[in-house]
């Protein structure tokens, strides 16, 4: 039942996203944004997702500012299209895709015919991105424990460079170990 609902949501999202992507009229895009917003609130999507909308819009507004800076009159319509399209798509993603979580999303995609190998790769990437984040946090704590306070100085940039270097070295070693472990358990290819 839940799987069927997940599939329905994903298919609805894909269809609506394609439609919004193809739209070019400002009026139609305004309607799309209004409908996406309605869906966002009707499906009781967690409100904290709106923070993501703010971050994304910081980037969108930067692009728009660049456009308007070159030729405001000629690019006004394009800027409006970019803004409306980006926000309509984001709200749609927040409403239909994000609440499911990555695991359910991948399971749904597998159900829709996505190759098992790709699903496994996505799962492993997700798992190791989390691991990398945790490892980086540990190193940052280690630096903080020894009096490191970031400041706009060469010393800070160098320290971050060393932190990233250590993280890369650790990741490579871990990747080798995991590969060995997988090979020992019969993975080929």
């Amino acid at each position: 039942m839940a799987e069927g609902r997940g599939r329905l949501r994903l298919l609805a999202f894909l269809a609506a996203a394609l439609l919004i992507y193809a739209l070019d009229s400002v009026r139609a895009l305004m309607l799309a944004l209004a409908l996406s917003s309605l869906l966002f609130f009707l499906l009781r999507t967690p409100r904290n997702y709106l923070k993501g909308l703010l971050y994304a819009n910081a980037f969108t507004l930067l692009v728009i500012a660049g456009l308007l800076f070159t030729d405001p009159i000629a690019h006004l319509r394009t800027a409006a299209v970019i803004f409306l399209k980006a926000n309509a798509l984001l709200l749609l993603t927040f409403a239909l895709v994000l609440p499911a979580g990555l695991l359910e999303l991948l399971r749904t995609l597998e159900g829709l015919g996505l190759p098992k190998r790709l699903v496994l790769l996505a799962l492993l990437s997700y798992r190791y991105l989390t691991t990398l984040r945790d490892e980086y946090e540990k190193l940052k704590r280690a630096a903080a424990c020894r009096g490191f306070e970031p400041s706009p100085s060469l010393r800070t940039y160098r320290t971050y460079g060393y932190l990233l270097g250590a993280l890369t070295a650790k990741s490579l070693l871990k990747a080798k170990e995991v590969y060995k472990a997988m090979t020992l358990r019969g993975l080929e290819g």
Binding site: L139, C145, E149, Y162, A166, A169
Partner: protein, 228 residues
């Protein structure tokens, strides 16, 4: 009455919203050495992380009688409390041992001469003089463990907290660490479930599990000095 160096009152540690340590009390006098023991998963490491301000907690944390609450309080506290991580690889990130040891005193803005003095002193204390210019990641696990202790010592902390300092060490390095702990004049809190170490040190043992200390912790393990 003398003010204790570190005091925890009804200390409850939260990790991802869950209470991993509940209503824990600890009093550590200046110059005192104690062991915080308990089986895996009772929250020993979480407790240390909360003391350093990396995990949220409820209750009271007092350092020299003053409550530690704000971000600024913890910044100051971390200058006075040295923490040795359970896994040295989580702690070391500088390219050479010398730079690793110099990291803390350089962050404190000390002069190059003073930084160098501290580096040499800490290296001599743990027998790392020959390794000072070696890349940190080329060292053996035991050597990395010693470097992880030395790099905290160069900050000259008042209190030293070591999380499982003897984990994964061979006998030679185990003895080096154990002897260092016995001989240092600093206030020390060792977090461990290594019964040999507890027996060897013979310090006050604080149990985190809430169950009484098994007699085997003190009697069954032979003195590692006699194993040489």
């Amino acid at each position: 009455m003398k003010t204790p160096l570190l005091e925890l009152r009804n200390f409850t540690v939260l990790r991802s919203g869950k209470k991993v340590v509940k209503n824990f009390n600890l009093l550590l006098e200046e110059g005192e050495k104690a062991v915080l023991a308990g089986p895996n998963g009772v929250g020993k490491t979480s407790l240390a992380e909360a003391v350093l301000g990396f995990l949220p907690f409820e209750g009271e944390l007092l350092y020299r009688g003053r409550p530690v609450r704000t971000k600024e309080d913890f910044k100051l506290l971390r200058r006075k409390v040295g923490f040795v991580f359970q896994n040295p690889d989580d702690q070391l990130f500088m390219p050479t041992v010398r730079e690793e040891l110099a990291f803390a005193p350089a962050n404190f803005g000390l002069s190059p001469a003073e930084v160098n003095r501290r580096v040499e002193a800490a290296a001599a204390l743990l027998g790392l003089e020959e390794l000072l210019d070696e890349p940190t990641f080329s060292l053996s696990f035991g050597q990395r463990r010693l470097v992880s202790i030395a790099c905290v010592l160069t900050a000259e902390p008042e209190l030293l907290i070591l999380d499982e300092p003897t984990n994964g060490l061979d006998r030679e390095n185990w003895l080096r660490v154990a002897r260092f702990l016995n001989e240092t004049e600093k206030t020390v809190l060792v977090i461990t479930h290594d019964r040999d170490l507890v027996t060897f040190l013979g310090w006050r043992v604080v149990l985190l599990s809430g169950t009484p200390l098994a007699s085997s912790w003190r009697t069954e393990i032979p003195d590692p000095y006699q194993c040489d």
